[in-house]
């Protein structure tokens, strides 16, 4: 059951990205190109997504339990540190270079854009580096 609902959520998420235009890197770069011919559409994607999610999180906080999987896991971290800021700054550079973030990269793979595998493989390598780094920090 948990895998079925996760699959459906992923499917709807992917369709949302496609409808929104986020699965098209050119559209994303048009949003990031504030000094050129700016396309502000993606601000409306955030507005729509946050608008619905806001109520989902309010409900989650009130109910505390999920339907299929016990306690709802909400992120516990609150500190604003160098990993958060530095990591986000690095990610933004990557996002600006190609117009792709993690969700759309998987949608692009499904759309048959085979060269996105280079992005995905490099992203996995990046996750692996960070895992190793975190393991080292935690063992100290």
């Amino acid at each position: 059951m948990k895998s079925i609902s996760a699959f459906i959520s992923g499917l709807i998420f992917g369709i949302g990205l496609i409808v929104a235009g986020m699965a098209n890197p050119a559209k994303v770069l048009g949003f990031l190109d504030i000094a050129g011919r700016w396309d502000p559409s993606l601000a409306f994607v955030m507005l729509g997504a946050i608008g619905i999610s806001f109520f989902a999180f309010r409900l989650a906080r009130r109910n505390r339990f999920s339907v299929l999987n016990g306690l709802i896991k909400l992120p516990a971290k609150t500190e604003i540190d160098w990993k958060l800021i530095g990591g986000s700054l690095l990610f933004g550079i990557g996002w600006g270079l190609a117009g792709i973030c993690p969700g759309p990269s998987l949608v692009l793979l499904g759309a048959g854009e085979i060269r996105i595998l280079s992005f995905i493989a490099a992203m996995l390598l990046g996750f692996f580096f960070v895992n190793q780094l975190n393991a080292r920090i935690n063992s100290q």
Binding site: A6, D33, M46, L84, S88, I100, A122
Partner: protein, 149 residues
């Protein structure tokens, strides 16, 4: 600043965003998990993961990959314009993996879920990646493009 009204699609953007919100709500309220894509994928690489944990992550990813196939079958093939430059894609992927790994979140985890639950941490993350996103495109399209590079 010059808005390109021909490219501007507020209706589909808002609709697509709302669909994303529904997906976030399903994963949160049924599975009790945050729909942050970098976190879902990176969680696969953790050591000693329970099989059930691996399963839902793979199922979510399979849904994302199936989305364009199903969308194309019942509607039309979405327009996609992706660079051919493999070095650019590889560098962008590495920066994305290291960056979202360090920050524990990307556009979905911080930009949508984090902002929706009013997390200050996610606000700082979102402002940070937006800032370098804007700056990077400015450098690539307006500074490098106007020189002989």
């Amino acid at each position: 600043m010059h808005i390109d009204w021909e490219l501007f699609t507020p209706e589909t953007a808002l609709t697509g965003g709302a669909i994303l919100g529904v997906a976030v709500a399903i994963l949160l309220l049924l599975n009790g998990e945050i729909a942050g894509i970098s976190g879902i994928v990176a969680g696969l690489l953790r050591r000693n993961n329970a099989p059930a944990d691996i399963q839902w992550r793979l199922a979510f990813i399979a849904g994302l990959i199936a989305a364009p196939v199903i969308y194309s079958a019942i509607y039309f093939r979405p327009s996609i314009n992706l660079t051919n430059n493999l070095w650019l894609l590889t560098s962008a992927g590495l920066l994305t993996g290291v960056g979202t790994g360090l920050a524990s979140g990307c556009t979905s985890g911080h930009g949508v879920c984090g902002l929706a639950r009013l997390s200050p941490r996610s606000l700082f993350a979102t402002l940070s990646f937006m800032a370098t996103g804007f700056i990077t495109v400015f450098i690539v399209r307006h500074l490098l493009a106007s020189t002989s590079l």
